[in-house]
Amino acid sequence: MSEKFSLSVDGSTHTVTADPGTPLLYVLRDDLGLNNPHFGCGLAQCGACTVHLDGQPIRSCVTPVSAAGNGKITTLAGLGTPEKPHPLQAAYIEEQVPQCGYCINGWLMTAAAFLRDTKKPTEAQIKDALSGLKCRCGTHLAILRAVKRAAAMMG
């Protein structure tokens, strides 16, 4: 049975009607027309669908819309803008990180929460925080360089 949900996404509130079991990813993409969270696996194994729910990275491909509750959802589009980039976004451009870029939500949204909570992280801490995310193009080294650069920018 479909239900109504009121979702706060990137600072705007949207009302959608959906089956409560619908993964948040499809509500964001289909009902709200947001393209940035991507379908990679539907199994919480890759990170391409990652958004923040109340500041914590979640895999929207396995999170039912009903579990988003009254929480605040932030997508990559809400992380920063060309005018006011998040340090990670600036670092990603500086380090020319992505190739195809389809994986980008996982890395940026996970790293954003990590760097917010962990100042001056070690390389081992960074690798641990990002472990499990997938990049098939093999940009691993560039990702690490960018996260270190952003960490330095964030003090």
């Binding site: 990679g40 060309p82 980039p85 020319q96 195809c100 870029g101 389809y102």
Partner: protein, 763 residues
């Protein structure tokens, strides 16, 4: 929903009209104050046919003085667009920022083969460079007539042609051409795809005059990705569109015998499309399509399970009848006599598993069939061929299909994107609505065309003095292309095979590329065997990045290391004794020097403890490119885990267009090579492929990333650029295997070097 207007690429006409004061109206070229014969001959108001022999098919000077270039190559995120713009800006003497690159749209570019064989610059750039040089020649001739100055006295700076004695005597490209099309015929070689070449009369610039080529200009496509403004193929939405999902059998080769459509009657808008083995569903909402595909009750036929046990894969290859064999190139000397006279013969055999493209996301395509026009949005890296495939499966002429390439979720060869486009076309035709089809993860990994599994045998004849007097290398393998490297023919697609199109399996393999000057040498022989399942197989083979390259050179370069060890020689010194080409010698020396290589035979002596370290060397060629690589690894003996700690690459692909982009492409290629070496193996049982996600098809995790990949670029401006997108993967497995041998004294001859495999090899 994205509007169509946003998604459609600007038309040629719109591009030509763009700009402020110089806008011209459609179909009405700027009136000429002085009609000149040359102008009438070289410029026209209406676009000449989009054929490979027309200069206008590659390049246009827009009304605002910007340059548009149209490439049938696609940029998968490796910076090709920047490199192409650099090459064109250089030839035309315009700023880099004046060049706009349009790629992979069948309405604006000819078939240059798409992304293929690392030829974006090697072939695609070569053609655009030739076209730009010809455009400059024509523009300077036009300026000469307009200014009354001989062409020899004219120079071009920033898109303005002026006299070299009187700066004031000048005219801009925009003033000369703006808004009209070149009407210049090129000397086309009659080929399409990668080998297409159509030069004009002009010679490209002398590299000593380069100002833009060779500069580390940054990519323009990064920021849109970082700010979530980049539309991928998966983001295409068109009015009236429905979402599709395909249904594949649990047992490969099984066909649906009964489909109970009532099982999904409660899912809004869900419909079934069934034709022989082709089975899919559509629904208005994507999640509903997924549910319908999951819930649809299907009764399948019960075929004999088609596959051997995975454990017997290599035995199967050894024993299977040879379907095709070939000797490429000519043997050197008398190999048989060398082995007869040998004081010692060394031999080894190597094994490589099936591997999957396992793209970041499963493929997606959108097909919109209208009465007079079919539009295809695809992430397939060869969109002109995809266009042809869609036309054929729909039975319409190719010119009625507009193929638009949009970045897909990763693309490393013939992945699942091509099949997805053809499937989407059949769904769209069946339901009479535009269809967006995305595969699911298990289909992306489980049902993409696979890189072939193979075995390789190498043997060497050594004389009494320790000299290699004979070398032989052979392969026996599944063919590199059960299905072609593009999807233009229905028999090369799952949809075609599942709807009864007569089969026509491809064949072929490949051989090592190196310059070892052994006196007697036979390395060109290969044998291929029949596929395990001839129709609709999840183990059908096709090109995965550097097709057959990693397999063959894992074996050939591991074997060189085995020879060096057997002769108690340093691996670098051994290679330098036999490598004969100066460019090969240069990369070998450069890599060794940069890595601080200290000569010593492997294995390393005197290491104790659980974690041991080693260094390994490999060198390869690929289609003109040469590189050498040093791997430094740590091996945890008790767990079998390898940490590929550091790599050093020396890379020579001739003339370097963009060193910054090149380094990144090499580094990412090495990482993908590490992943394929340490982790990647398509698992299967006798019924089907069981590698269906990232747990069952693991790739290199970021926690295992090397701490550094140092790259030494050897620039050779006088040598035409060759490819870089694939060569760096090629030597990685051998370098790691050689490093593991150096560390442990144990030779691993089967990929992947997963902890379990390494542990059992060490025990």
């Amino acid at each position: 929903m994205i509007s169509i207007a946003k998604l459609n690429r600007p038309s040629r006409r719109a591009l030509l009209k763009s700009g402020g004061a110089l806008v011209v109206s459609i179909g009405a070229p700027m009136p000429l104050q002085l009609a000149r014969a040359a102008e009438e001959a070289w410029l026209v108001g209406a676009q000449p046919p989009l054929t490979p022999d027309q200069l206008s098919s590659y390049i246009a000077v827009n009304a605002d003085g910007t340059i548009s270039i149209f490439s049938g190559k696609t940029d998968l995120g490796q910076g090709l667009q920047v490199a192409l713009a650099q090459m064109v800006a250089e030839e035309l003497d315009v700023p880099f920022t004046a060049v706009k690159v349009v790629t992979g749209d069948t309405a604006s570019s000819v078939n240059q083969g798409g992304a293929s064989s690392a030829s974006g610059i090697q072939e695609g750039g070569k053609q655009l460079r030739a076209a730009a040089a010809e455009a400059r020649r024509v523009l300077v001739e036009l300026a000469a007539e307009k200014l009354g100055v001989s062409a020899a006295q004219l120079v071009v700076d920033g898109g303005v042609v002026h006299s070299n004695t009187e700066m004031a005597k000048s005219v801009s490209y925009a003033e000369l051409v703006g808004g009209r099309y070149f009407n210049v015929t090129l000397a086309w070689n009659g080929k399409i795809g990668n080998p297409l070449y159509a030069p004009g009369k002009a010679r490209p610039k002398d590299p000593k005059d380069f100002k833009i080529v060779g500069q580390p200009i940054k990519r323009q496509d990064i920021a849109p990705k970082v700010f979530a403004q980049q539309d991928f193929c998966t983001d295409i939405k068109v009015p009236g569109m429905v979402h599709g999902r395909m249904i594949r059998p649990a047992v490969a080769g099984a066909m649906p015998v009964n489909v109970d459509e009532s099982s999904i009657k409660d899912i809004p808008g869900a419909r079934v499309v069934w034709n022989q083995g082709f089975l899919g569903v559509v629904a208005d909402k994507e999640w509903d399509a997924i549910k319908a595909a999951r819930d649809l009750k299907v009764t399948w036929s019960n075929p004999t399970p088609p596959f051997p046990d995975q454990a017997s894969l290599y035995d199967h290859i050894r024993k299977a009848p040879v379907r095709k064999s070939e000797t490429e190139g000519r043997p050197v000397g008398d190999v048989d006599a060398a082995f007869k006279n040998a004081a010692r013969v060394i031999e080894a055999e190597y094994e490589w598993p099936f591997q999957s493209h396992a793209s970041m996301g499963p493929a997606c395509a959108v097909v919109d069939i209208k009465a007079d026009q079919v539009t295809l949005w695809t992430g397939s890296q060869k969109p002109h061929f995809t266009r042809d495939g869609v036309a054929r499966i729909l039975g319409v002429p190719p010119e009625k299909v507009h193929g638009i390439w949009i970045l897909g979720p990763g693309s490393y060869g013939r992945n699942d994107a091509g099949d997805c486009a053809i499937d989407a076309a059949l769904l769209a035709k069946a339901v009479g609505r535009p269809v967006r089809l995305q595969y699911m993860r298990d289909q992306g990994t489980g049902w993409d065309p696979k890189a072939p599994a193979s075995i390789h045998r190498a043997r060497a004849a050594i004389d009494a003095s320790g000299k290699v007097i004979g070398y032989e290398f052979t392969s026996k393998a599944f063919p590199r292309v059960d299905v072609n490297s593009n999807e233009s023919a229905p028999h090369d697609t799952l949809a075609g095979q599942l709807t009864g199109v007569p089969l026509k399996s491809g064949d072929g393999f490949g051989v090592p590329e190196e310059s070892y000057g052994f006196a007697n040498k036979r390395t060109g022989y290969w044998e291929t065997i029949a596929p395990l399942l001839d129709r609709g197989s999840p183990l059908r083979t096709s090109h995965l990045r550097d097709p057959i390259g990693p397999q063959v050179h894992f074996a050939s370069e591991s074997f060189m290391d085995e020879l060096a060890a057997a002769l108690n020689l340093d691996p670098v010194e051994f290679r330098l004794q036999y490598v004969s080409e100066p460019r090969d010698i240069a990369v070998i020396k450069a890599a060794a020097e940069k890595a601080g290589w200290q000569p010593a035979p492997s294995p390393r002596k005197g290491q104790g403890g659980n974690t041991v370290s080693g260094r390994g060397f490999a060198y390869v060629q690929r289609h003109g490119t040469r590189l050498a690589i040093v791997a430094n690894v740590d091996v945890d003996r008790s767990s079998g885990k390898i940490w590929p700690r550091k790599f050093t690459v020396a890379h020579d692909c001739g003339q370097i267009i963009n060193p910054d982009g090149l380094v990144r492409v090499i580094q990412a290629g090495v990482v993908q090579g590490i992943s394929r070496t340490l982790w990647e193996e398509v698992k299967f049982n006798n019924k089907n492929v069981t590698s269906v996600d990232w747990q069952s098809y693991p790739i290199l995790d970021i926690a295992e990333a090397p701490e550094a990949i140092d790259v030494v670029l050897i620039d050779r401006p006088e040598i035409a650029p060759s490819g870089a997108g694939e060569p760096a993967i090629r030597p990685v497995a051998a370098a790691i295997a050689n490093a593991v041998f150096d560390a442990t004294g144990v030779r691993i001859r089967r990929v992947p070097f997963s902890p379990d495999n390494v542990k059992s090899a060490l025990s």
